[in-house]
Amino acid sequence: MFEIVINQAKENLALKKIPETEVRFSELPIPVLYGKFIWNASRGIRLIKRVIGK
């Protein structure tokens, strides 16, 4: 029922001409973590002794 809002937003967007960012999440490296995983009953799997790789 709110399609009209999306259509209005499309019209506003067309006027603004927003440039697309070149930063891509998929292109960023995944930080490397070293450590030991333990099972915690209330919070699921948890990592202890975390070291963040470069």
Partner: protein, 353 residues
């Protein structure tokens, strides 16, 4: 009278499934049913409501109401009990979301799916949180009756006093865009961040993104990557709350100007219902069970178009009459979940097996 026995691997305090199990237990007791809850892991705060699974003495007349949401040894062990098995299917997050971040999680998820296939011809019935969940089981070959009954949400808890520190800090005239959910790749917080980037940069610099949810959960590398992403995009106004107390969650809902969901996998999505409860207008991407839970109570985005999402957010935040209409629709949808009839339907189904 048959006993109704709830079994869950991990009976956690404050999470959607834990709350659901407790609500069913309390209602069964109130109605005079012979009932008990058993679990392998019980949060100490729930010790009055459950016993360790080792203490369960099975009986062929029992109805075993088993809560399935993750891979664990119990998924297969539960078939060894004498009673009739009814599965409450809460869905399992597909493994491909976790694959880049945690190989152990992938193994647990894959075993969860294998177990779900294994249980296909062993359940007398299934209660699914959503049609989406039920249809997933039908595709997996389940032939038993499958009923859709929404997860039971404890609305009374939401009337508690919100955290005053959070309220004071974030009720400052800056528009708060909020998403609530553990930091996890299926929830697509990177897409929420990108929507916010466009909104903050091109529509309203007086805005803030608050991502409410635990990140100390075995997929910290995803969280760290999100932080790096926000940094590369030059976003300054972003808050990762981490694991917080319930009254703080209530406060974040109360200061929220808009609830933004880009999740690509939800078996139900309780935070949508919570946002409705707190009169927060919702903009959400249409995936999995999100559209089903949202109904007409928010704006459903059919495509991942981030500048468009930002423009929609701007429309909603600027237009008070639109917000009022969205709140009205939210209340209508909420009354469907809130009515109390669902818990009675669930109990009727269980007692008729």
């Amino acid at each position: 009278m048959k006993r109704i026995i709830q079994i869950v691997d991990t009976y956690a305090y404050g999470d959607a499934i834990g709350n659901h199990v407790t609500a069913i237990y309390k209602k069964l007791k109130e109605l005079g049913y012979d009932t008990a809850t058993y679990a392998n892991y019980i949060d100490s705060r729930l010790a009055n409501y459950a016993q360790h699974l080792n203490e369960y003495c099975d009986d062929s007349d029992d109805i075993i109401f088993y809560h399935l949401s993750i891979g664990c040894a119990l998924n297969r062990m539960v078939t060894r009990y004498k009673g009739k098995l009814v599965i409450n299917y809460h869905n399992i997050t597909p493994a491909h979301f976790m694959a880049p971040y945690n190989a152990n999680y992938v193994k647990i998820i894959e075993s969860g799916y294998a177990d779900t296939y294994y249980l296909a011809d062993k359940a007398a019935a299934v209660i699914a949180d959503s049609d989406y969940n039920g249809n997933e089981l039908r595709k997996m070959g389940y032939k038993c009756p499958i009923f859709t009954v929404p997860i039971i949400v404890k609305y009374d808890d939401y009337q508690a006093e919100p955290d005053s520190l959070v309220m004071n800090r974030y009720e400052d005239g800056i528009k708060n865009i909020v998403f609530v959910g553990r930091i996890a790749p299926n929830k697509k917080q990177e897409d929420v961040i990108l929507d916010f980037y466009y909104y903050n940069k091109y529509f309203n610099p007086q805005s803030r993104l608050i991502l409410v949810g635990n990140y100390n959960n075995g997929i910290e590398s995803y969280y760290l990557k999100l932080k790096k992403y926000a940094n590369k995009l030059g976003i300054k106004n972003i808050v990762f709350t981490g694991h917080i107390r319930f009254k703080e969650i209530l406060a974040y809902y109360r200061v929220a100007d808009l609830f933004l969901c880009e999740s690509e996998h939800e078996g139900f999505c309780v935070p949508l219902v919570e946002a409705m409860y707190f009169d927060v207008p919702i903009v959400a991407y249409d995936s999995s069970a999100v559209g089903e839970t949202l109904g007409e109570a928010g704006i459903l985005l059919k495509e991942k178009n981030h500048p468009l999402a930002a423009a929609v957010m701007d429309q909603v935040i600027k237009d008070n009459s639109l917000q009022e209409e969205m709140k009205k629709q939210g209340k209508k949808r909420l009354s469907y979940f809130q009515s109390g009839k669902h818990i009675y339907r669930m109990i009727d189904i269980l007692s008729s097996i």
